[in-house]
Amino acid sequence: MNLFAAISTEPALWSPEWLPRLPQRLVEMLLGFLGAPEWLVSIAGFLVAAGTVVGVFLGGFALLSLIERKTLARIQNRIGPNRAGWFGILQPVADGIKMLTKEDIVPAKAEKFLHLLAPILIVVPAILALGVIPYGREWTPVSLELGLLFFFAVGSLTELSVFIAGWASGSKFPMLGAMRAISQMVSYELPLIISALGVVMVSGTLSLPLIVEQQGGFHLGFIPAWNLFTPWGFFAGILFFICSIAEANRCPFDLPEGESEIVAGHMTEYSGFKYALFFMGEYLGLFAISALGITLFLGGWQAPLPGLGFLPSWIWFFGKLAIVIFMFLWIRGTYPRVRIDQLMRFAWLCMIPMALLTLPAAGIWTILNRDGHGFLAWAITVPLLLIPCVIVTVIFNRRLASANRTYRFAE
């Protein structure tokens, strides 16, 4: 009985701030009372936390598939799915059922085991990555001292899994799709990590909660101290955002599964639930990379204006997440697909140099601010970043982008 009393009397338990941690703490308290050994309690707690994260983002995934088709429709001046349920609200459920009931075909020449392993290896890293991000002041599923490094280590696993998917299905198209996907992801991983380095250098730690805490406070009363609102932060943020599009194989860079060219890229030989898993992996990857973007540049769960302290911190996180996701959809609706050589050239000749540029800018910015002459900081970093950016874009537009297509006909 005292269990029930304890739960009801625990003040902090029911506060909105702690809402996401509620199930985990309930289980822990329950097991505590049942006298389970210490390690068992901690493992159970972690499992429940993972459960909440998966639950939240699976829901998000379902919601996103609907919202994406809705927004794309609106952009293309049409309504979008509204048959399944009131205003198409049940469309994800319908898709889910369809995926499950579809026959799961495995090609003859495919490697049975690897064919099965590929989709799993796509989803697992995304979920692992989501586990590290601080959603609220009190709620970071796993707060690692090397959170960012863990995120990127796990992120790089996706390339291997894409390869396995492409290779295991045996036929030419998946292989080609896999090679394109790998080359794209490898090229864009570099600028992604370098732009994130800027934030690490400024905040001095690799642990994501600490980075978010350092983005607290406000300049001049109403401008939040997020990294985005510093010159180098803005620049790095833009770069990070572009690279995250590429990492998630989203629209302008969705060459690997370009429908019109190589059917579904490395996913052509999959059908049924494995195909659904691929989609889930892609969307969870999208969630993860944009969540990281938010924690690094948009101040994670920090409130945008000073007065809004009373709301729980995770509200802001998910609000910003919605905005960023909307940006992705928006871009998907408006930008045409980029050709493979333009894509590679853009990464190596335009993104990496600009990303490298943000590091010195961030360094100068922090030193000058620490010494107190803020204006000089702005005066130096802004031109330092702007001028090369203009030059590169000019060069890129005139010479690089317009490189003519090279045709090589089969001999």
């Binding site: 690692l144 090397l146 290779w167 790998i182």
Partner: protein
Amino acid sequence: MIPLLILSPLILLAAIGAVWMARPVHAALMLALTLALVAVLYLALGAEFIGLVQFAVYVGAVAVLIVFSLLITRPGDEAEEIERRPRSLVTGLLCTLPVMAVLAYTAASGSNIKLIPWQPKLSIAELGEVLFTSHAPAVLALAVLLTAVLIGAALFAREPDKTQDDSSEK
């Protein structure tokens, strides 16, 4: 102590797979698995930073690289590989067994160090500080090496542009 017991056999199995597998891509994937397991072993031994770096570099990059080049060179002839295996194995073992024997002997005999708690702490702050003070020249040299490798590898692997291509084809 327990994780070591669990991981060691797994690593050995994966390594044997990497060495033994007939199909090259399978061997490469088994290598990726071994490297991942070794990374986990590092984490178990307390060196998180090294483990994660190992995971990111080896599994993320090197394994992909190896697999990628296998994709390009498309080695096919497993049959011949299997047929040739016993003969090559004999000569191979002939050379590796003495090496293994000597190494194992040293490992077993030399370790009279007393058992100590295996939870050492590697804080990346100290690592960073040491790295960039006493080892700064080494880091700079490494940076130069890596850029050189980057450019060199790109240069080597570059497709010769069209003009030479035809001549080399004929």
